[in-house]
Symmetry: C2
Subunit: 467 residues, 2 copies
Amino acid sequence: MPNNKTAQALAALDSARDATEASLVEWLRIPSVSAQPNHAGDCRRAAEWLVRELAALGFEAGLAETPGHPVVIASHPGPEGQAEGDAQHILIYGHYDVQPPEPLELWHSPPFEPVVTDGPRGRRITARGAVDDKGQVMTWLAALRAWHAVAGAPPVRVTVLVEGEEEIGSPSLDPVLVAEKARLSADVALISDTNMWAYGEPSLTVSLRGMVYVQIDLRLGDRDLHSGLFGGSAGNVLNLLTRILGELKDTDGRVQIPGFYDGVAEPTAQERAAWDALGFNEAAFLGAQGLSVPAGEKGRSAPERLWARPTADVNGIWGGYMGDGTKTVIACEGHAKLSCRLVPGQDPEKVVEGIRQFVQSRLPADAKFTLQVFGKAPAVAVPPDSPWLVAAEAVLEEEFGRKSVRTGGGGSIPVASSLKGVLGLDCLLMGFGLDDDQVHSPNEKFELDCLHSGARAHVRFLGHVAR
Amino acid sequence: MPNNKTAQALAALDSARDATEASLVEWLRIPSVSAQPNHAGDCRRAAEWLVRELAALGFEAGLAETPGHPVVIASHPGPEGQAEGDAQHILIYGHYDVQPPEPLELWHSPPFEPVVTDGPRGRRITARGAVDDKGQVMTWLAALRAWHAVAGAPPVRVTVLVEGEEEIGSPSLDPVLVAEKARLSADVALISDTNMWAYGEPSLTVSLRGMVYVQIDLRLGDRDLHSGLFGGSAGNVLNLLTRILGELKDTDGRVQIPGFYDGVAEPTAQERAAWDALGFNEAAFLGAQGLSVPAGEKGRSAPERLWARPTADVNGIWGGYMGDGTKTVIACEGHAKLSCRLVPGQDPEKVVEGIRQFVQSRLPADAKFTLQVFGKAPAVAVPPDSPWLVAAEAVLEEEFGRKSVRTGGGGSIPVASSLKGVLGLDCLLMGFGLDDDQVHSPNEKFELDCLHSGARAHVRFLGHVAR
């Protein structure tokens, strides 16, 4: 049951819905694509926008410069008169950078010109970053504005950490965490970058998969060759590349990278029972995407395959002639992007070496092979008995009128490993996205209902932990 | 031993070397890329250029219109006073269209701005089409000009057939052959589009591989998906595509397409002995391209694998994210271009169906598959006892001072099947290209020595068959 101040803050939040939406639209217009160097200026503008918004709420806010994109760090000591040592201190993490919007021709509206339209669940906002992650950061910003409106300050000590490289593997983050350790050493970190179990059904993500992301570059021969004059004698790098990638998994879906499963624990009977109890409908989950045949390791349930088993996915492949019609060429270069989601127990460094070995052992003597490593992050697991988890479950039940469920996350949030590793922080993963938000795809959207419910849950959470 | 007129024609040819080279440069400037619709006008210009050049030699010359690019047909009855029935009638075939020049950034000079430079064998001309096929057609045009200069006419009845779609599988040619059958019914067809055995070592190609060329388009799912949220459950079309293409061959290099080898005859002991006698140096052949490990079926010699065994080469592949850095996507579309060189006995239609089955049988139920067929042509074999072959061997020995060798051709010239099928003509494949001409690659070149020697051999051939 919220106390009076919390109720006031909720009312202030509700009356500011239009302003919250307009604020999000403003932020979404900035094309802060971290992966593309020509948008570096936009990334900075998106960061500065947030600094201004937090400064307006009395936060000490600024940018930590890095070799890449800057990091927003803002802190507020909490209610006036509260001694620093007494207050709970929460760290709110998010990211202002977004995925590349390509392929542009598949967007119904331009990716950086947000539109609000009607959908099956009411209004939604469509833009790149609508949910991942600006919309979700907005659930915190709106909550902080509401507390500022009714109390002049958040009810606890709050530090906000919003980086600009999450989508490219956060290469510049760890040194910032080390340098700002004193300022960032909170009692818990809160990350809003995950999904609800379903619309109206809140969940807390208690584990996240890690990731390694590489690019395989193969070269066979000095130049492209005529496939008639050389076919049957000259090696073909695209036949080679496809043969190698084609062997990534056996017929049971088990990944063949050497040492891949070293350290991977089987789920407990308890975990399996809890997942079965969720009633995950894989047919509907896949059917919504025009799919029907589950991939992944045979004999394991969908939650297990999505949350507790590692993967190997080819994210892109190219080489040879890709234009109209025919070109009878044996190409000399082939490339592929490959990423693996990791589970607790797997060492990202060892997985990278396994990939290197996997490719190298399949190469003829005259092939040239380069492996570019774009990202490495181990999986994280949140302690199941954490009091913060219990607190979050309580406020979610208050807001949504039903118990929240504990799920695993299929996606990776490498910063969770960094926050644990550098700052010793456990992370609470409480998010308000939905599976059909089309994250990383064209026409990414965020239900406005989820935006406002998420902000309300955050208002409640701040009030709850202050007591 | 050439007669007086042949000697005079050779002298006239030799004195016109500069003019021959300048004429070729002029023709090479026209970017007659048949595969790219935006060059349709250039294709027509290249055809009209040849019509004018032949008309200037007294040929009745014009264009046969088609749904695609026009075909140049030009005829000359031979010496004045010669009765039509008496004269030998030769058909000269070539093509004015050229391969796409991409990738442009690898050319040392622009592909349609011919340059003459010095090389290990004297001067060479570099441009797209320098040898394939404008340079080789020029060996005939120069020979005809020389005979015109000294005799006012070629010494035999000559019909010239130069099409504009050879590089895209000659889709419009057969109806022209049918429609113009009377005009094109010669005693033999001569095709200059093949290579010499080596520099200074002439050869006659007595067999040509056929070809099928397809594009495989796969779709899995309605949209691109986030690889964390969906990895382990959703099928990945690029993992699927690479697995399928990776199974094209077994570890002995044998192609796994169903029915692929039906009708393929083993070479005779005689053929194998003749090939062994050639002393084909595969290490040098591959070494010149920066390769060292032979591909193709284990346990067979290089000439056998290049001339008498079919192949399956992936010519291009693409799908997913191909830009800078990372995008953690499970793509919904993947594409590949695949072509097979065929040998006598294989039915192109059946090979296409075999490819279709090969892919279809490896698809999950929710995959969508389209097969685009860009070209189909069976292999051809030239009768080894043909008197035309004997005549060609004689003039090549005169010109080059050594016996010519009989080789197979790795590449396909589908028109050879058409000329046989529609007009009943055997084809003499006498060409002057070299293996390092970089046909179908950037920096395609033609040795000027080969241009002029080829023209001289053709002058001799015309004189020889007139007797």
